[in-house]
């Protein structure tokens, strides 16, 4: 009853594709990001929740009541798609007015929001009232997103579903709209699901993350958990862990686990005991790698401190991604001014250090 949106053991066959046992629950205001490669079943999952596919088994509950057998128009869902899906033959005002629900109009506003069923008030709230008579083709992406949100709210939704809303946008616009959406969803306290293959969306928005592959859940949980402790190299790469490296267990002691990675021995914090010789994969976030200039020989014995050489540098905004060969390939982040101060260039010698707690071990 507490969950605002619950999906229970949802299974669906669609031609050769099969969605297998999808399970999750969202509380009011929680945002779930579904990640996965093309064809993993992300959009199908959304569309099944929206009522466009009949599941073979399983249930969908919105606000505690089962909607599995209801058609989309009776599920109270706000659906936003790539390019925002405004009706191109209708003005902004008509786009929002078409969604007006006589049966549900003027639900009790949650907070500072205008009554959800009131098209004019919604356009004002989103700062697009002056665009009411425009056609969608004349709007900027930011304006389209606001109109799309106003329109969805006009139908008084209990759940918001976003199907790759930003995928046609350039990086700057994407980031800006993402921020705006985040602010809006946090204020609204309606559960939302966002499907994407962009990990930036997940980092910016997700409370929970579900990673899909071939129609099945690979990992699902709190966003920080999935980011910090991916269960496989597939998930690690997908949530954007920069360093995913094959290794082999050397020994497990009470101080920690030693792993052979490339030509080095890397120490990880003590987790469960692992048999020596077992092949594993480690993931290390680039932001957990400390880069400094090489120092005297004395310091070399510190744990997880390796000497290396810069093999490549790539600048993105203020952040510089540095590829280092330290007996195994490693990527780290530095800020532009730091790189200048240290006088780093391709070929420079550096020292890297990784906290054992930042070394995460995965089975494959």
């Amino acid at each position: 009853m507490s969950a605002s949106l619950a999906v229970e053991a949802l299974t669906l066959t669609l031609g050769a594709f099969r969605l297998n046992q999808i399970d999750f629950a969202l509380a009011r205001g929680e945002i779930l990001v579904i990640l996965g490669p093309n064809g993993a079943g992300k959009s199908v999952t959304l569309e099944t929740i929206a009522g466009f596919h009949w599941p073979d088994s399983g249930r969908v509950l919105i606000g505690g009541s089962e909607v599995t057998a209801l058609p989309p128009e009776r599920r109270n869902i706000g659906f936003v798609v790539q390019n925002f899906g405004l009706f191109p033959h209708l003005t902004v005002a008509q786009n929002v007015a078409i969604a007006r629900r006589s049966d549900r109009a003027i639900a009790a506003p949650d907070s500072t929001f205008p009554a959800h069923g009131d098209p004019a008030a919604l356009l004002s709230y989103f700062g697009v009232a002056h665009l009411a008579k425009r056609m969608p083709a004349a709007l900027s992406p930011g304006e389209k997103q606001r109109v799309a949100l106003a329109r969805a709210l006009a139908s008084v939704p209990d759940v918001f579903l976003f199907d790759e809303p930003f995928s046609a946008l350039d990086a700057d616009m994407r980031e800006q709209l993402r921020e705006e959406l985040n602010t809006f969803l946090r204020a609204l306290a309606i559960p939302a699901i966002l499907v994407t293959h962009d990990r930036g969306d997940a980092i910016a928005l997700a409370d929970k993350i579900m990673v899909l592959r071939d129609g099945a859940v690979v990992q699902s949980g709190a966003a920080t958990e999935v980011f910090r402790k991916p269960i496989s190299s597939f998930v690690a790469r997908f949530v954007g862990v920069e360093n995913v490296l094959p290794g082999r267990i050397v020994e497990t002691t009470e101080n920690g686990i030693s792993i052979e990675v490339g030509k080095q021995i890397v120490g990880a914090a003590r987790g469960q005991s692992m048999p020596a010789g077992r092949p594993i994969v480690v993931s290390i976030h680039a932001e957990d790698v400390a880069v400094s200039l090489p120092e005297g020989e004395r310091q070399k014995s510190a744990i997880n401190r390796f000497a290396g050489r810069v093999t490549a540098m790539r600048r993105a905004g203020a952040l510089v991604t540095i590829a280092i060969d330290c007996g195994f390939p490693l990527r780290a982040f530095l800020l532009g001014p730091q790189v200048r101060e240290m006088g780093l260039d391709v070929g420079s010698g550096v020292a890297v250090q990784i906290a054992p707690e930042a070394v995460h071990i995965m089975a494959d």
């Binding site: 466009f52 058609p71 659906f79 083709a137 139908s155």
Partner: protein, 272 residues
């Protein structure tokens, strides 16, 4: 989409060659009609326009073509939507069936229609007996003959129009509380309107110009093309040319008018 400005590699020569080849075709299309129009003086046109049987024939053609275009819209647009939105085994065969009349010689179509809608036809006889609807010697027969040869234009154009409507827009409409019928009427149909109107206009134009199927299924009452053929047989080129130019003027101006109406108020296209 951003396109690079014209550069030295701009394919000017290619476009020029295409336009040259194209103008040969355009000249071939326009020349006979211009030659025909030039044979007539205003006086001879006025003369033929005063002939009651010629006027009746043209009015009948316009009426019957209008009815057949309306009928094509009523049954063809739903078929087009079904073909655009559903997948089933044998869909290719159904699509080919729609195109079939385009491949059948129209005299053959006329004979085939006679077998179905004639006095002893499988539909002609019972419809006459029970409903009193006759397809010989009536406008109903003209409409049936026209519809058979011209319906594919409406179905195909409407289908292309429906296929161009993003199914996600329909899905969004559903989540906004519109049932499938309202979604079709408020979203899909208006977005495909231009293609549908283009198809209906083509059906109308093709119906007016139909001769072969009409002349076999219903000789009387005479449509304009049949009347012109009769004038040609009885009085020769001169008399028939005057009527022909009159029909040409009427049908072309209507075609241009309808085409303009069909293209108006299109949906503004997204810049991608």
């Amino acid at each position: 989409m951003w396109l690079p400005p014209a550069t030295p590699s701009y394919p000017g020569a290619l476009y020029l060659a295409c336009w040259f080849a194209g103008s040969v075709l355009l000249a071939f299309l326009v020349l006979p009609l211009v030659a025909l129009a030039l044979t007539q003086s205003g006086a001879s046109l006025a003369g033929v326009a005063r002939m009651v049987d010629v006027r009746d024939a043209i009015v009948l053609s316009l009426e019957a073509a209008f009815l057949s275009a309306a009928a094509a819209a009523v049954v063809g647009v739903p078929l087009a939507y079904a073909l655009a939105r559903t997948a089933f085994p044998g869909k290719g065969i159904v699509a080919a069936l729609v195109d079939l009349p385009l491949a059948v010689p129209h005299t053959v179509a006329g004979i085939a229609l006679l077998l179905v809608f004639g006095r002893q036809g499988v539909l002609g006889e019972p419809l006459q007996t029970f409903v009193g609807l006759k397809f010989w010697g009536t406008i109903a027969g003209v409409v049936v003959a026209m519809l058979f040869v011209s319906a594919p234009y409406t179905v195909n154009a409407a289908r292309i129009g429906f296929e161009a409507v993003d199914p996600r827009l329909e899905k969004i409409a559903r989540t906004l509380g519109l049932n499938p019928w309202r979604t079709f009427m408020r979203i899909t149909l208006p977005l495909a309107r231009r293609s549908i109107m283009t198809g209906v206009t083509l059906t109308y134009a093709r119906s007016i110009s139909e001769f072969g199927a009409v002349v076999i299924l219903v000789y009387y009452p005479m449509t304009a093309p049949v009347k012109i053929y009769e004038l040609f047989l009885r009085f020769g080129l001169e008399q028939s040319a005057a009527a022909a130019v009159l029909l040409l003027i009427v049908s072309l101006s209507l075609f241009v008018l309808l085409r303009t109406l069909a293209q108006r108020g299109g949906v503004p296209q997204e810049n991608r």
